[in-house]
Structures are given as C-alpha cells and as structure tokens.
C-alpha cells in the first residue's frame, strides 16, 4: 500500500507540474470574464492554448486572442529552468467594408512587416481585407504567478489587459 501511495503521489505532483499553463489559462479566462470579456474560442493542445474573447462595446477591437505556449517542456527540466512560456497577443479589428485603397495599404504594411519581428513587445500589423490584426509576443515565467495550486492571477490579468490596450492604440488609426 505504501508503494502504491508513493507512486500515486509522484504521479499527482507530476500532473500538477505539467498543468501549470492550464492553471494559468483557467485564471486568465476567469479574470477576463469578470472584466466583461466573453470567451468564444478555446483551442488547446498539449502545450499550447489559444483563447479568443469578444470585448463588448470596444470601439476598435472585434476580438482579442491570447496564445499561451509553454517553451521549456515538462518534468525535471522545467523544475530546473522555471516555466518559460511565450504569451502571444493578437488584437483583431474588423472594418465592415474594404475597398481597393485598403489593398494598397495592405501592400505597404506587408512591406514594413518584412523587417519586423513581433517579439519582446514589438507590434506587427497584418491586413486581411476587412480584418486588421496587431500582434506581439512576450516571454514570461509562469512561476511568477503559479506555485502548486496557489495562483496570483490578478497582476497577470491586469498586464494582459494593458497589452491589449497598447495594441488597440496601434489599430485605432486604421479603424474606418
């Protein structure tokens, strides 16, 4: 019985360690829902979760997407390295009508994008006819927010909202 319990305990701890990004996703969904954002897209694979939210009443954004992508694997390696995770932010704006002038703007944007890497906060704008996206990525350590079952999600949610505020301002001039 002792051996069974020890093995079960080890398996349980391992599960929790590997669940760090899911725990964070759960807290993000809850935190943003309480801000009035409405989750409508949840796509999850083993180490990559994508969440989409509608932001009711937002004058610019039609949707906000987050991608939580765990970079440092699981198990003992993660324990040693911390839980480095890439968080991608994609703010989507939709114009109801697009016209040939927009195609010209798209070319300009695509040209500018050639030399842009949307990492460490740099923003890349991408035109898709009626849809214009602004995206950026940040590398964060989930251990800052999650220790076992204990989660401090409030600062994380505040930081996420701030990132989308910045992306909104990048898109605002392109809103018709």
């Amino acid at each position: 019985m002792g051996l069974f319990n020890s093995m079960a305990n080890y398996a349980h701890k391992s599960e929790l360690r590997e669940s760090k990004d899911e725990i964070v996703c759960g807290e993000i969904i809850r935190g943003l829902s309480h801000q009035g954002w409405r989750p409508f897209r949840i796509v999850a694979h083993s180490d990559r979760q994508q969440m989409g939210f509608k932001v009711p009443g937002d004058p610019v954004l039609s949707a906000a997407y987050l991608v939580v992508d765990r970079r440092s694997g699981s198990g003992a390696l993660t324990q040693a390295m911390g839980s480095k995770t890439s968080i991608g932010f994609l703010a989507e704006m939709r114009n109801k009508v697009s016209d040939p002038d927009d195609l010209a703007t798209m070319w300009k944007t695509d040209l500018a994008n050639l030399f842009k890497l949307p990492v460490a906060g740099e923003v890349r704008i991408n035109h898709q006819l009626n849809t214009v996206n602004a995206k950026t990525y940040h590398l964060v350590d989930l251990d800052q927010y999650v220790q076992g079952h204990s989660v401090s999600a409030e600062p994380l949610v505040g930081w996420i909202v701030g990132q989308f505020d910045a992306l909104r301002e990048q898109l605002r001039p392109l809103k018709k």
């Binding site: 319990n5 996703c25 759960g26 809850r30 309480h34 409508f40 796509v43």
Partner: protein, 325 residues
Amino acid sequence: MPEPQTPVHWLDTAGTQQGPEPWETVQARVAHAQIPPSTQVWWDGAPGWMPFDQVEAAPAPAPAPAPTPTPTPTPDATVTLAGSAPAEPTTAEPTAATPTPAGASAAPTGASAALMSGLSDQELDDEFIGLVGRSWELYKDTEFATSIDEATLGGVITALVDCGFVLIDLETAGAAPVVTTTTTTGTAEPVVTGAGHQLRFEEPETQSRVTVQLEHLTPDVATAKIIGHRANAVIGYGQRVKEFNKVGQALRQEVQSSMIVSPEPGTVSFDADLSSGYVYAQIDLLLELDRYVSEDLSVDHDLLRRHLASVVYTMKTFVQMRFGS
C-alpha cells in the same frame, strides 16, 4: 410650383446634383435648414434650374385646365414665376440652351438614373449600409453557431474557478466530426463519435476532481435554428483512494462501463486512473447550450454553476457509496 409628389432634383452647396426626391421632401429639407432656400431645383417640366424660394413664392398650380393651345416656349425662356406669369414652357429637361448653374450635372438620363430614380442619395446610402450591416449579422449567426460550445467551456471554467477549483487539464479536439445515422423511424440522428472538449479541475484542499467533456451536436446554423444548440456532456467527479484494491474494483467497473457503446442520457459509468490513484463516476447528459449562452455570448454563470453543482453532488455520492469517502 411642382406637385408634392413630383420628383425634384436639387444642387447641393458643392454644385452636385442630388435627388430626385419628392417636392415635399425638398420643402421639408429647407424647413429643417438642411439646405438653404436659395437651393437650385429642377423637375421634369420646369423651364430650367431655379432657386427654391422663387418656386415657393409662385402660386400653386391651377387645377388641370381644359385642353387649350399651349403657347410655344421662347428660346431664351426667362423664368417669371411671380404674379400672372405666362404659361410655363413645356421643356422636358434642361438643355445646353437652358441656363444651368455652374457645377450642375445634367438631369438624370440613362439606365443608371432610371435605376436610382425616386431614391435620394441618403436613401441609397442607408440601403447600402443596411445591406452590409445585415450581412455582418448573418455572418455573426454562423460565428455564434461555431462558438457557443467554446463560450460554454469558458463559462464552466469561470464558474468552477470562481468556486476555488483550478483547471489542470484542457484539451479541445477542434471540430470533432459528427456522424449521422438513420434510425428505424427514418430520422437522422447525430452519433457521438469521440471526445469534443475535455476539462479537468482539481480542488486544492481535497484533491478531488471534476471532469467535463462537451461535444456540440448542432454546430450548423440551420439545425440550431430548428432544435437549438445541443451538446452531449459527460460530467464526472473523481477522488483519490488510498487502497490499491479499491482502484482495482474501479477498474473492473470501468471495464463494465466500456460495454456501453452508445450511452443514453442518465447513464452513470466508472473510470479509474491507476497511476495517480483516482476513481471517477461520470454521467452522460444532453444539454441545451443556448440556455447558458446568449446571442451576445454572455454566459449565465449562476445557472451553469447550479447545474454543475447538482451533477457533482450526485456523482460524489456514487463514488463515496462505492469506494468510501
């Protein structure tokens, strides 16, 4: 002066021709100061472009007279509308010979003009905007139909994390194919072909778990309009057991549960995880997702929590009756 319903063209301040629209509409525009009284107007039968206020000052047209010989219009017909004016010339529309204000385009001719006749620019703009707006509404209908299951997942996560659970497993299978089969009554019924979305939560204090599997059965708009958004849900409760023989007992139950090929609602089954020592009881249900999620994607978290609570309570009872607390 034209009849109230006579289509009239007018020139805006940039000299661009507007209309046609009924004379009474033009009168209303002036009355509401949308256009100045000096606005140039023209209608079929008018001798040429003339200021609105002059036309207004002219006497109302007499009742239709008996047919009398009409005086021939003079080539340089000067508009004299006040007093006892001579009979109006019967010029059909302004021509090069008629005085046309600078910037005025020709009177409407051709198929395009006929297409748009009777509609003001404002009305055309309004119709266009209405069509585009309606297109986006229809697009959102489709978007909603494919999002409602994920919005429900968001609601489940919010409801349970609010209560203190932590989400420890999240897997979505994307759009899992739903195979329809024809029943003996000839109706097509969806058959659950595999897991859709799977969530697993843990209560930190007791390490007990709640599992939720959800598969949207009616993701297309047409079906959803008829029968609503339905989903197959499997909701379970699990707890750790310390005795290996109890996990073995649960495994035997799991084998029995696997005999059920296509579970009906209300079927309770058991599951065991030998590695982490968990035993689960779970139940198959059919849910109406539109009871929880409105068209604006807002979620009724209270109703969702109430339903989850009732199922978790019952499944917990099943587990504890069989495997002890």
